[in-house]
């Protein structure tokens, strides 16, 4: 009797578990159309351009027209239209705080989840172009948006050695959990645009490190002789005003000037 009782309880438990797994309410398992499109874009390593809108008015249609044309002529971009009043899309709307953004708006999301641009109420082809950034730039932006310091090391051909000062800075207990390192080769054709914007030549003979801080500030670029003290001093002085003699921050500033060499 005890054996039958135990078997009966085991069977009941198995059936109950099966019911839980196989008969879930549909809204728990199914993705929304927006989430599905975003997931597809990520899988395909494309930049997703989410068009948030409230009503399909003239402004929305104008924005859609520009975006559609730009996405169509690229193979690394996907268009994801999303009505913020659709209850199914509430999760995405909350994730990107779209209900508090002027409508219509386009948000560009890189394959790694970094947001590379937000354009509200008006969209130009140049905006789409500017939002499609290089792989290294997406890494930097993702780290900055995760509120981390970024050290971008640009290596000369044939080298991947991170400068000693950079390694020491990263390994410091104060910085170990808040610093992200991105390494690229100076001659990488995929990073030409980014390096041009950073004003780093492709024929460098020694490593160059660009030091960045959230939300997107370049603190300086340094050669391979940079020390952790220089980086720490620069970080401590960050965010203070520059040459304006009337600026209240400049009057209180006392940090040493950074040394930047390329």
């Amino acid at each position: 009797m005890a054996v039958i009782g135990r078997r009966g309880r085991a069977t009941t438990l198995t059936l109950a578990l099966a019911a839980v797994f196989f008969f879930q309410p549909s809204e728990v398992l199914a993705e929304s159309a927006g989430q599905s499109s975003l997931a597809t874009a990520t899988r395909q390593q494309k930049f997703a351009f989410i068009l948030f809108y409230r009503t399909n008015n003239a402004a929305t249609q104008a924005m859609y027209k520009v975006l559609h044309a730009e996405v169509e002529r690229r193979d690394n971009a996907a268009l994801v239209p999303l009505n913020i009043t659709d209850a199914q899309e509430r999760e995405i709307v909350e994730q990107y705080d779209a209900s508090r953004t002027p409508m219509p708006a386009v948000m560009a999301v890189a394959p790694n989840g970094a947001i590379t641009g937000v354009f509200a109420q008006k969209l130009l082809p140049a905006h789409v172009e500017s939002a499609i950034v290089t792989p290294a730039q997406t890494q930097c932006m993702r780290a900055l948006q995760d509120k981390k310091l970024v050290l971008l090391c640009v290596h000369p051909a044939g080298s991947r050695k991170v400068p000693v000062g950079v390694q020491q800075f990263r390994s410091d207990s104060l910085n170990v959990n808040r610093t992200h390192l991105v390494s690229i080769q100076a001659g990488d054709p995929a990073e030409v645009k980014f390096l041009q914007q950073l004003k780093v030549r492709s024929d460098i003979s020694t490593a160059v490190t660009a030091f960045m801080a959230p939300p997107g500030v370049l603190l300086g670029t340094y050669n391979d002789k940079v020390t952790p003290t220089i980086l720490m001093n620069r970080l401590a002085a960050a965010g203070q005003c520059c040459a304006d003699p009337n600026c209240k921050h400049r009057q209180a500033a006392s940090a040493a000037r950074p040394t930047t060499r390329r």
Partner: protein
Amino acid sequence: MKLRNLIWKELWQRPTSLMTSLAAVALGVTALVAIQSITVFSEKKIAGDMRSLGANVLVLPPGVTLQDYYSADMHGQTMPEEYVTQLALARMAGVENLAPKLCVAAEVNSIPVTLTGILPRSEFEAKSAWQGMSFLSNPVGTDRGCCTKPVTDTSGETDLTSLATQRTVQDLGRNELILGADIAVQLGAGAGAELSLLGESFQVLTVLPPTGTIDDGRLFTHLHSVQRLSDSGPVVNVIEIMACCEDAAGSLITDLSQELPDTRIVTIAQVVEAQVAVNGLMSRLSWVFFGILLLVAGASIASVMYANVAERRREIGTLMALGASPGYVTKMFLGKAIILGIAGGGLGFVAGTVLAMVLGPQLVGVSVLPMPYLCGVGVATATLIAVGASYLPARRASRLDPCLCFNEG
């Protein structure tokens, strides 16, 4: 008999005339000291506000009038929170921080309180980060020559009381509260306490140090929590913009007006200009009242002195018959005037200072302290008026003929 003793004796023998003269002088000095003290401390407060807030700009719903910077969100009108996102994405040069606020009435343990929703800096910075790395398209050092973009603090150390000094806080959870100094005492709550507000439980993160502003009586929590609990939707009462310097703030006004044409942009200078004008008027009027009241006091003293001379003819005649010179008699009356002036000026200074210390906090919200230089001004002027008003009666007394005084039966 010594001159000093004669003067004192005469003063105490005729107290009514003494009091009358004293009151007249003291009243004039009281008016001057009270108004000047309040004006000076009000100007100091404005100067202090300008130093700490001078570069700040307020974005308000249209049609809102503003009397006090610190209560800029308590007008009841709202505007969409999407204006905040618009400003964050615009990344205008010179904008150091944004502080949108929404103010609602609430109750804690049946005590009415003002609950203010604020947006932490981290959320403003996050939206700013969505626009990418600004240095790539907008090099460091704008054409305004001021204000590189401020860097997010990644050290993990947060100054929880920065709301009191910088008007913003780095991070604030949806169910966390920051209490003003006065309301914390009133509620008997400190850091770590649990409070129930609008049907939801909040934990007190910290209590702010006293600021001397209306913020001492407020509770602060996350803006979106206040919006949710009050069913107001994504709206705010005010967006406070901290510009990094006055130079940037000047150009910012134009940019803001273009970016948000359906709002009212107000600088600190505009907020305080009405108060500055009132202070100037009060200061000028105080001197006018002082002059008028002292003239009245002078006339009163002159009248009392003439009556005193007439009343003491026989006494003066006796003194002169006993050898008192005309100069001695003159000194007797002028000495009395000097004492009246000094006493009236001193009394007026004390009364005026007390009046200013009581009325200052109530009328203009400033604490007033004694101003010693006004004592000197009041006493010197009162003495001058008293002596001036007593001069002619004193000369008349000094020219009396003793024989004629005794002949007047």
